[in-house]
């Protein structure tokens, strides 16, 4: 199921015989217009949301204020890093449903190291990232060695992490001893932009580079498209998948440290809801720019599309439930859209 949702499954060999019929000029032009509209529909919707909340009497006062914009941007840094990280596994046709919990674990362990062991700042940060990498790597090994559905395995690791955090913290937040430099980093600006947003930008560039400009990204795309064929062109499939899970875990670790910096405490309750939102944003992102493919710019726009609408609606007086509801709706719509696109592609193929 994972495969069908991300990249439509291998095409049926339809009544495909005559391949070379030229497309008439007219339909080619309207085809371009269609593609254009589709590529940029989400950015346009994002702009429209800004205009809506900026002019709606219920929200206009606060919505476009510099403080709110900064807040929204900084508020998406954790989720953004998490989502960009999961792109790497999703591109290879796999899911990691434990990323939210990995981020939670990383923030708890980092907080505990600061609080109980008084480790230096850098050591704490690196430890948080290392925890994510290791758990991600374990996910990858389980998926490739046991050859089970990553969906199930990572759901399992998610639960194990939850249990461990609960046992370790007794449900209590870790608030003492978090370095002030870290917490002030999470709350301050540079050139008028929250510092955590720079981290998000750097991660976006890194993931974009990995996915589109390295052999590693190429191989991930190939595995996601056809695992058997990837093996037979000499790609070391298992190794590549394990590295993908470990990288996703590493980015979840970064997200955990950012979370600690933003909130100033290791909170045992956070995690699970991040996962769903990240997956929703990744899918939604695949509906723009490079339509039908997971891509970095689309993902960023999707994250802010979710944030802007949830914030706007909250300002308009809608209660907290809108958060989950809107995210869920978006996920369902994004996946439905992916299904429609793949069907369209098949029909187009049959027609050509």
């Amino acid at each position: 199921m994972a495969d069908t949702a991300v990249e439509p499954a291998a095409p049926m060999a339809a009544l495909a015989d005559e391949g070379g019929l030229p497309v008439s000029r007219g339909s080619a032009v309207s085809g371009h217009a269609m593609t254009f509209a589709r590529k940029y529909s989400l950015p346009v919707l994002l702009l429209a949301s800004f205009v809506l909340y900026g002019s709606w009497s219920k929200t206009s006062e606060v919505f476009l204020s510099a403080d709110n914009l900064r807040n929204m941007a900084a508020g998406q840094a954790v989720l953004g890093v998490l989502t960009l990280g999961i792109l790497l596994t999703m591109v290879s046709g796999h899911f990691d449903l434990s990323i939210g919990n990995i981020a939670g674990l990383s923030s708890i362990i980092t907080a505990a190291l600061f609080s109980h062991q008084h480790v230096p700042l850098v050591v704490g940060i690196l430890a948080g990232i290392a925890v994510g990498t290791v758990v991600g790597g374990i996910n990858g090994v389980l998926v490739t060695v046991l050859r089970v559905d990553p969906f199930i395995i990572t759901l399992g690791t998610a639960s194990i992490i939850l249990g461990y955090i609960d046992w370790y913290t007794h449900g209590q937040s870790i608030i003492n001893g978090i370095p002030t430099s870290l917490v002030s980093f999470g709350g301050s600006n540079l050139l008028g932009i929250p510092k955590v947003v720079y981290v998000l930008g750097a991660v976006a560039l890194l993931v974009y580079y990995l996915m589109e400009h390295t052999p590693y990204g190429r191989n991930l795309h190939a595995i996601g498209s056809n695992k058997a064929a990837a093996r037979l062109v000499g790609i070391r499939v298992e190794r590549t998948i394990i590295v993908a899970f470990a990288s996703t875990g590493a980015f979840a670790g970064v997200a955990g440290v950012l979370l600690l910096a933003r909130t100033g405490a290791g909170n045992p309750q956070v995690g699970t809801t991040f996962t769903l939102t990240a997956v929703a944003a990744a899918f939604l992102g695949a509906a723009s720019f490079k339509v039908g493919r997971l891509n970095v710019p689309g993902t960023i726009v999707a994250i802010f599309f979710l944030a802007v609408n949830i914030t706007g609606l909250t300002f308009a007086g809608v209660e907290n439930w809108i958060n989950q509801l809107f995210t869920g709706l978006t996920l369902v719509l994004a996946i439905a859209l992916a299904a429609v696109l793949s069907k369209e592609r098949k029909t187009r193929k049959a027609a050509s």
């Binding site: 009544l15 495909a16 019929l21 008439s24 400009h213 498209s225």
Partner: protein, 514 residues
């Protein structure tokens, strides 16, 4: 041409002056076609020949240009442009496509009911008894050896196809029998299952069923068809009796040039210059294979399905475990543990199942060409996209890939062009040894000729080729020598001149001859 005597026989389906223009291109040019009742009529032609268009017009899903006429059985002659799917169905035309939509987890009875509706009991529940009885009758009539309650997935592949055919025919009245149109019915079948299906088709035809059979596989057409109509570039070349026809005749009609010219001439290669030496290779079905692949030759491997011919290639590519044996490549020991090591040693492999094992369907032509070679374009932390584009452009023109541009998803290309992409992916690396498993499966005759041209160009440049093909005619024409693989061993090596019948005999000789 159709013999005059045929005109007084009532045709099951007759079309006159059928044309179809797509965006100014004539895809079908005033086709006349008579399909006689109870015959198996094969429709042949390469890509773009118009055979798909013809079927789609018969099915009513493509509207032809004005002026064509269509008659089914004793029905009235109608203007072809008024034909619709509903009219086609009412007239008894039934279509089974190359990958029929059958449901392996459901029972045979359920699969049939999905086409015709479930019989109901009073109260609305499904009347399983009636359904199973009706199914048993149908299975009996079409001689499918199974029971209504067997899960379809438990049947052999050919029987699954037969159930799809029964499903298409189940609501057809017996009075005029209609027309069964089969589009590449064997394309998805393993070779061993093909004959089983063909035998069933012959039986149906003998019982009066009229069949229009569309296929790329010339050997199948010759073994099953009564008459053959060949299309080329939208025009009918001829309709001829299949009796006494050879594959060479068909190739000549389809391509417009003779078979000798459709395949490049064989080459003499010196026996002492061995590129790949295999000794005692065993594992899976292989019991100890010895063979010498000479530099620059095409060595065919003739073997029945299950003889281990595919496993042999996979083993040499490090994709199937060998339990014993030694392999020497250019005089050095060669033992690839996985495909990557095989690639590094200069061995390339084109697998049998193109869709499942070779192409990345949604990826672009460019990405498909450089799959597994991405490191060649990555230096100093930069991916050299311009270099890759240039290399892609060269490959597209050198290996005759017909594509709009290099960003086109490979799944939108024809089978032949997809295969050329797969071949180009390997040949552009100038491999020492190229392992080809059924390289022309699902590929039309024209593209087949081009593919073997490309292979010959590679051998001229020093590549040595091991070729597996189940069509012995093709094997005989494309190889310099042929090794016969039987019982897990090479039992004979045949030199020029190669003869398809001789190869077939060698493959089939029973070992337990008294």
């Amino acid at each position: 041409m159709t013999a005059p005597a045929a005109l007084d026989r009532k045709a099951a389906v007759a079309v006159r002056g059928l044309s179809k223009t797509y965006a100014g291109t004539l895809a079908l040019d005033s086709l006349d076609l008579d399909i006689r009742p109870g015959e198996i009529h094969a429709l042949l032609g390469g890509n773009g020949s118009g055979k798909s268009t013809t079927i789609k017009i018969l099915a009513g899903v493509v509207v032809p240009d004005d002026g064509g006429l269509l008659t089914v059985g004793e029905g009235e002659t109608v203007a072809a442009e008024t034909w619709t799917p509903a009219r086609a169905h009412a007239a008894g035309l039934r279509f089974v496509h190359q990958q029929p939509a059958v449901f392996p987890q459901l029972t045979v009875a359920e699969n049939l009911a999905i086409g015709a509706g479930f019989p109901r009991r009073a109260g609305g529940g499904i009347d399983w008894k009636a359904l199973n009885a009706r199914t048993a009758q149908l299975l009996e009539k079409y001689r499918v050896n199974t029971t209504p309650t067997t899960p379809l997935g438990a049947l052999r592949a050919a029987d699954r196809s037969r159930v799809a055919i029964v499903r298409a025919l189940q609501d057809c009245d017996d009075k005029d029998g209609g027309l069964l149109v089969l589009d590449e019915p064997t394309a998805a079948l393993p070779a061993a299952e093909v004959e089983h299906l063909l035998a069933a088709l012959r039986g149906y035809a003998a019982a009066g069923q009229t069949i229009l059979y569309v296929s790329h596989r010339l050997d199948e057409v010759l073994s099953v068809a009564d008459r053959v109509t060949v299309l080329r570039d939208g025009r009918k070349v001829d309709t001829v009796d299949a009796d006494g026809l050879t594959e060479a005749d068909l190739v000549q009609m389809i391509v417009g040039r003779s078979m000798d010219r459709a395949f490049p001439a064989p080459r003499e290669t010196p026996a002492e210059d061995v590129a790949l030496q295999v000794r005692g290779l065993a594992g899976g079905p292989l019991q100890g294979v010895d063979l010498d692949l000479r530099r620059g030759e095409v060595l065919g491997i003739a073997g029945l399905l299950g003889s281990g011919r595919s496993e042999l290639l996979r083993m040499l590519f490090g994709a199937y475990p060998a339990t014993a044996g030694t392999v020497t490549l250019d005089g050095a020991a060669y033992d690839a543990a996985d495909p990557k090591q095989a690639m590094r040693a200069g061995v390339a492999y084109v697998p049998e199942e193109r869709q499942a094992d070779a192409v990345f369907p949604q990826e672009s032509v460019r990405h498909n060409l450089s799959a597994g070679q991405a490191w060649d374009f990555y230096r100093n932390l930069f991916f050299r996209h311009a270099e890759e584009r240039a290399a892609t452009g060269r490959s597209i023109s050198e290996f005759l890939v017909r594509t709009r541009n290099d960003k086109q998803p490979v799944e939108t290309l024809s089978g032949g062009n997809q295969q050329k992409v797969v071949l180009a992916r390997w040949l552009r690396q100038r491999p020492k040894v190229l392992l080809l498993d059924e390289p022309t499966q699902g590929v039309d005759v024209q593209a087949r000729a081009e593919i073997y041209d490309l292979v010959r160009r590679a051998t001229a440049a020093g590549t040595s080729v091991l070729l597996v093909a189940s069509d012995t005619e093709e094997l005989a024409h494309a190889s310099d020598r042929v090794a016969v693989l039987k019982g897990g061993r090479i039992t004979a090596v045949v030199e020029q001149p190669l003869d398809a019948h001789h190869l077939t005999e060698l493959m089939n000789v029973s070992e337990a001859t008294p």
